[in-house]
Symmetry: C2
Subunit: 280 residues, 2 copies
Amino acid sequence: GKSSLLNAITRQQVSIVAPDAGTTTDPVEKPMELLPLGPVLFIDTAGLDDVGALGELRVKKTLEAFDRTDLAILVAEGGQWGEFEEQILAELASRQTPVVVAFNKADLAEPPPDRLKALRARACPSVRTCAKEGQGLQELREALIAAAPEGFIENPAIVGDLVGPGELAVLVVPIDKAAPKGRLILPQVQAIRDLLDSDAMCLVVKERELRAGLARLVRPPKLVVTDSQAFLKVAADTPAEVPLTSFSILFSRFKGDLVAQVEGALAIDDLKAGDRVLIA
Amino acid sequence: GKSSLLNAITRQQVSIVAPDAGTTTDPVEKPMELLPLGPVLFIDTAGLDDVGALGELRVKKTLEAFDRTDLAILVAEGGQWGEFEEQILAELASRQTPVVVAFNKADLAEPPPDRLKALRARACPSVRTCAKEGQGLQELREALIAAAPEGFIENPAIVGDLVGPGELAVLVVPIDKAAPKGRLILPQVQAIRDLLDSDAMCLVVKERELRAGLARLVRPPKLVVTDSQAFLKVAADTPAEVPLTSFSILFSRFKGDLVAQVEGALAIDDLKAGDRVLIA
């Protein structure tokens, strides 16, 4: 049931579907784009009612997958709902993970009305699907988007707000031996995209070409962003009046609490010999 | 055996490892970076000697995985080599897929000398590994890199050769609703990286900001590259003396036979009513 539904949502054959229950052993991971959420990783797990030595291993793997889950789909087969489904729902509730219940194989049986009522009482959304016939998939996608944690749809800006529409940032991207072949690392790509989303533009250069790049501009950029490893060289080549920062600082602001971090850094000056520091 | 070795190479726990043979059902896929090859996808398959209804499905999945394999690791357990290993080697040979044989569990048994001799006679490289102890992994990585098809290490340029060191290209990247959230599509990222690898630089803009971007430059760029969907608008905003192309054309040159494609396009003019066209 689960595997068929995952195949239908991702429109790909991602795992073996056999008529026997219990075919899934390893959690099968399937990355896909679910707009407007963005990149998501579907993890198709085994259940929690597995027995035997291999069964225990499967249950452990399933619970590990639960720990990594931001949003769960509980697949219940048509009319069936029992201890097993309640156990999964309880596990997810203890983790405060939002859940969408999919009553799959809706062509074979209707979900029990008392169960639908109980789910509504818990504010747990449910949809009827039939993976085989391709029914209810759009409803399921919409329910997932509605149930997703808020931050998953609207993200704060990475750098675009510091540059502004029609303005230009210079991104300094050193290429070292550890760089992935033929591509850029994700924070660099995200910064470029964020600038474009803000109607800004960017000049992308290696640290060695920064001087030549700045010389190509009619007027200085609004901001220079560099990889931390090139900070000193880039600082030397950046005009004093142009603000300079690093991808690390931008992503500290994006993902963390930059103000607290700056206060923490400033507090270092007040430390006296023998003070104890908690680094958490 | 195979799963342990895959975990050791990828330094991650990617699939259930149980003491019983036959634990692997679905081929487990693990993307990783294997420099200097670049991004690779490891596919951990079941064997070819599986029996029963589910067994047949596994064999089918394994053969499908073989079809997608550019480079194979045949994992033989220490001293063991038989019909099974020969069958896999024959399957791979029929596909002209390069193979590296890993004699795993080398702590338990030595590979049979006549087998090593036979593999050498076929010019098939082999290494001894012990996934548990972490032995032979570096040798295995090196053997894989040596056995990889030539084009996997050195790639032709995408765009850098058209721009040149110290020069600048403008990349026009429209953002439509189908774009992946918060990122760029791979050909755009690859073009940026290729320019940096060629000591060139690039200005990245949306089609709406192209005019403003060009106005920021002291002198015109060496090349403008646009997404095909914006070609007409970009052509109107690009100075007549600046060459203009699209990501699609660049990647036709990179991955295909651009000259043949251009000749094909030119041949359209010679077609007469009733001519038959083979589109292959």
